[in-house]
């Protein structure tokens, strides 16, 4: 994280804000909610209290404007610069401006820029934070669409704002009645995927070239291959030579770490993640509404509590689910399990005589992973072609 030169900050805990005007892209209630949630992010980790004014001069004046709007930083039309804000101070100090030429949205179900995310970032500036070069941090300068339903402030941003204001005092920073204004669609779902305590620090990142490296799940995603283990993900892209390492929460903050299985249906631009008896569908960063769903919806008997691995055959339009020493075949056309399953893996895939941890398809081959080994199988004749180390994709 960084701060502005000389680290300007508000010398008081009670900071006022005022919303001067609205964007026609969203209802006024949606704009109010997005900005209120954004303030709540910061007040929940500092002693700061934010009070809204409806007239007169507030510390943080919030407005939407296009092109030249009276300060030295004119906006630039659609794209490019989305918004900016000024560090704490008198006059324009603390003020936040949104570029009205952008299309502002409430949730990521359609194109546009999520006002809550951008507001939360700009309010970081209004409180004294500069940009962070930590990928995935809220104060990272580049816009990244994310699922905002259970959005949590990343640790780098918490460290930054607490360096300026310290941690919160015991009493809640917001009057209790405010949060209830969240619309039901935004309230955490009963089956919200993140079940573990909130402050979980990721375990040590496994080494790329550890000869004993195993994976929880592997899938393709828009031409890349994603390897999952615990809270970590390795990304192999056809466009960049080096492997990129991230955490799952960087892309899908509301999904719990430790997937069981994952597969991509390329034609629908959709990846399905499995954990225990539930599964989620995502499209890029966006978790599809209506998920998670119980895996029984796919046609598994009740005796199946979780699955080991899944792979989608793009040519046959079938998805294979692996559980123990058996596997099921799911017909994506009819959206139902094929008759005659489950079958023994070893019978149909000679040479694969064990359980499967993870699987994915690339070109004419399936790649099955078991422990620290990987098995390349020719899809057409289901013959084992060769065995490799599980991390052979990492150029060790």
């Amino acid at each position: 994280y960084s701060t502005f030169p000389r680290s300007p900050r508000w010398k008081k805990e009670d900071v006022t804000f005022r919303i001067l005007n609205y964007t026609p892209d969203m209802s006024q209630a949606e704009v109010d909610e997005a900005i209120t949630k954004a303030f709540q992010l910061w007040s929940s980790v500092t002693p700061l209290r934010f009070t809204r004014l409806y007239s007169g001069e507030a510390d943080i004046m919030i407005s939407f404007a296009s092109g030249f709007h009276g300060d030295f930083y004119s906006f630039d039309g659609p794209g490019g610069t989305l918004a900016h804000a000024y560090p704490p101070g008198n006059g324009i100090g603390g003020d936040t401006h949104f570029d009205e030429d952008e299309f502002w949205i409430k949730s990521n179900t359609h194109e546009g820029y999520n006002l809550f995310l951008v507001a939360a970032h700009e309010l970081g500036h209004s409180l004294g934070l500069g940009h962070s070069n930590v990928f995935g941090a809220l104060m990272y300068p580049i816009y990244m669409a994310r699922d905002t339903r259970n959005y949590r402030l990343p640790q780098d941003d918490i460290n930054g704002i607490q360096a300026l204001y310290g941690p919160p005092k015991e009493s809640p920073a917001f009057p209790p009645q405010e949060p209830t204004e969240m619309t039901p669609a935004e309230a955490p779902t009963e089956m919200s995927p993140r079940e573990e305590p909130t402050e979980v620090t990721p375990s040590e990142r496994p080494q790329d070239c550890d000869p004993h490296l195993t994976f929880d799940a592997i899938t393709t995603l828009r031409g890349e291959i994603l390897f999952f283990k615990g809270s970590y993900v390795w990304r192999k892209s056809p466009y960049f030579s080096e492997i990129e390492r991230d955490t799952i929460s960087t892309f899908w903050p509301s999904l719990a770490a430790g997937f069981d299985a994952a597969y991509e249906i390329d034609k629908k631009d959709r990846v399905i993640f499995f954990k225990d008896n539930k599964y989620w569908a995502v499209s890029g960063y966006n978790i599809q509404p209506g998920f998670p769903k119980p895996i029984q919806n796919l046609g598994f008997p009740r005796s199946v509590k979780k699955i080991d691995a899944a792979v989608h055959d793009q040519n046959a339009k079938k998805t294979y689910f692996f559980v123990g020493n058996k596997y099921w075949s799911f017909d994506e056309h009819t959206q139902s399990m094929e008759r005659g399953y489950p079958r023994k893996i070893a019978v149909d895939f000679p040479g694969i005589g064990h359980t499967i941890d993870a699987a994915f398809q690339k070109n004419e081959h399936f790649y099955f992973f078991h422990g620290s080994n990987q098995y390349e199988v020719d899809i057409k004749n289901k013959k084992l072609v060769r065995t490799m180390k599980s991390n052979s994709w990492f150029d060790c």
């Binding site: 906006f75 490019g80 610069t81 820029y113 700009e122 940009h131 300068p141």
Partner: protein
Amino acid sequence: FPVAPETEKEDMQFAQKYLENFYDFKEEKNFRTTHLNPMADKIREMQSFFGLEVTGELNRKTLDMMKQPRCGIPDVRS
């Protein structure tokens, strides 16, 4: 995806504006320098900030990063 400017010259102008806005680049008219490309230092600074390969050259990945929608506050300040 970002819409790419058509010509290399446009790319360079785009990059110069970006570095002026966000990396405090100042093109000194009578700037005598041993650098063939006075922007190279600032390109290196931007590449380092975003964890890109630090080459000082305006390569495709660097340009793609510059075209991402972003906040209007500078990344570095003098």
